[in-house]
């Protein structure tokens, strides 16, 4: 028990050191993208991995965070943290509405309701004048953190994004390991039993849905500032699918799975965007998804965990 604990401590420390020095080795914008999507996938994983709810509408939260932050930053020139706060709050609010309407349903019906709601949001962003339609919101200023730190430098921005990411991950970690998190797992494993034990299941589901939406919004807000643009790509249902792929590939219900999944998917996208294989990107992603579902259903981190457990 002790050694395991120590090992994980050591591992976390090593990961942190790596996260601090890696922008000198890899292009920081790519890293920031990975961190944002890692957080997004982790928020999604909280829902599917721990509460067993497959949402197919998470793009709505990502884009709402991005659009709201982008809008207030460009229009009112707020400081960075206020911009992100507003974007995140908007997603939380949207999460409440979506959750209220969808948690009554289960399984495929839940997925369909979330998808339908997300499509409504997509339509809204296509039509609303402030989003700039398919041209998107362009040239969003990154602003100054607390009115002091200028984030226009990519290195500075990286450490800010890393801090946001760590805060988000820490929050997820706390949620999973709290009594609340245990109740979620109980609901995932056997919902009728959780009900018979006296838990208000719907209430718990709504709570975790809102938390997941909020963190997705946080990821979207941060992403909009990293790229200084927000577009319909984030609101499209493809994005809702991509986050499922990231989570499944990395390992559903594992803490680091989503980050690994996001790194792999974005790494592949980045790798293939140049060069001859560019046009095969969709095929490659599809093959990866099929291989993942057929061969290692626990995802990369899930399978690694299994190997470690069996051998040590």
């Amino acid at each position: 028990m002790m050694t395991q604990f120590f090992q994980s401590r050591l591992f976390l420390l090593a990961a942190l050191v790596l996260a601090l020095i890696i922008p000198w080795l890899v292009y920081p914008v790519l890293l920031m993208k990975i961190l944002c999507f890692g957080l997004f996938a982790a928020a999604f994983n909280l829902l599917i991995g721990y509460a067993g709810m497959l949402s197919f509408g998470h793009a709505a939260f990502l884009s709402t965070g991005g659009y709201m932050t982008g809008y207030v930053m460009s229009e009112y020139g707020l400081t960075t943290e206020l911009g992100i706060l507003i974007g995140t709050a908007a997603s939380a609010l949207l999460g409440f509405v979506f959750g209220k309407l969808s948690v009554k349903r289960e399984g495929i019906y839940f997925a369909m309701v979330t998808l339908a709601l997300a499509q409504l949001v997509f339509f809204l962003y296509v039509q609303a004048p402030f989003t700039g339609g398919e041209n998107g919101l362009q040239g969003i200023p990154r602003g100054k953190l607390f009115g002091v730190v200028d984030l226009s430098n990519n290195m500075v921005m990286y450490y800010f994004v890393l801090a946001v990411f760590l805060a988000g991950y820490w929050f997820i970690h706390r949620t999973i390991h709290s009594p609340f998190g245990h109740v979620l797992k109980a609901i995932r494993e056997n919902e009728p039993r959780a009900i018979s034990l006296g838990y208000n299941v719907r209430h718990y589901k709504l709570m975790v849905f809102i938390i997941s939406a909020t963190l997705s919004g946080l990821a979207g807000s941060t992403k909009a500032l990293v790229f200084q643009l927000e577009s319909l790509t984030d609101a499209h249902w493809h994005m809702s699918g991509e986050v499922v792929l990231m989570t499944l590939l990395g390992g559903m219900g594992t803490v680091f799975g989503p980050l690994v999944g996001a790194s792999v998917i974005i790494g592949i996208q980045n790798l293939f965007s140049g060069g001859e294989l560019g046009s095969y990107i969709h095929i490659i992603m599809g093959v990866i998804f099929i291989v993942c579902v057929l061969l290692f259903r626990n995802g990369i981190v899930g399978e690694l965990n299994k190997v470690l457990k069996n051998n040590f």
Binding site: Y27, Q138, F227, S273, G278
Partner: protein, 402 residues
Amino acid sequence: MILKQTVVASAMALALGANAVWAEGISDGKVRIGVMADMGGTYADVCGKGCVTAVEMAVKDFGGKVLDKPIEVISADDQNKPDVGSAIVSEWVAKEKIDAVGGVVASSVGLAISKVLTEAKKPLLIAAAGSTAFTTKACSPFTAHWTYDVAALANGTVNPLVAAGKKKWFFITADYEFGKALETVATDVIKKHGAEVVGGVKVPLSTTDFSSYILQAQSSGADAIAFANAGKDFINSLKAAHEFGLDKQATMVGLVVFASEVQAIDPAVIANMRLTTAFYGDMDDKTKEWAKRYKEVFGKTPGMSQAGAYSATMHYLNAVKAAGTDEGTAVMAKMKEIKPDDFFARNAVLRSDGRMVHDMYQVRVKKADERKNEDDIFEIEKTLSGDQVFLPMVETCDFAKK
């Protein structure tokens, strides 16, 4: 003795001269042009690998070297996503030391890239994106909007038709930013010339059943139907119009149509449609020569985007040569100073706001029995001078007045 001294002295002078060129000349010993395009998505035929080929052809035709330094072409797939495009370009600027970016098809991607390149002070040579924003609200001193824009297409197509007596117009508009912008531009032209818009429908993106919209168009009594949509939407709506016999009753007018689409549609459906293009490969000897060479390399007939990509690259390289440097500001100044002149850019000038103004062509799509071969698709009805079709400079681009 004297001879020897002279030789040494001149050799030294030469060496010094070379050094001086080196200092202000080509940064890091190479000129790198990045081509951003859609390699496998919706716009792959409009500006995908073909645009890369066109840029490579231009580099080869230029001799592969400028100011004795090699020219390198790199390319990437933006997947029509602005965040992907902007990330790649900022990486190109930071790591690959890129000197200019060409290609660019989705306007959203172009706008995002333009922001990055303006900050980096590197030229952006837009070959296929059509938004007028590049020379209005999002204009930049480093953008050269080369091939066309939607205003020019709408102007070029609508003007002659109104003059020819088409007085009642009906719009079939894709219900998103692109379609609405197109309709607004075309409506302005129609009204300016004393014709009227008798109606219009806004159709959701990716609709497959156009029958109800076509029936509305039919009952409106319009004598010209304008299609303010693109790609699959355009093809589907045109097919429906043909099935309902609308094309017998009124003239079909495509506002943004590419040669690749015309080739892909059954001649019976699209015959006699009027549209505007910036380039037609089968036009004259100069275009035929280039189109033939392109087809030998790439295997497909070039459209205006590919021709534009070639022409823009050529002009850029000429400007680098004339300026003696690949530094962005100096090159842009030269690009605007020298008049582009090749098979594509005729009576052309790169305006100070970044709009390349050149001749456009109003064409009629030929019927099946009029076509001699697969590339023989248009009949040029009218050559339109750039001043007639492109929008005048706007006041918001303050750099343009200088």
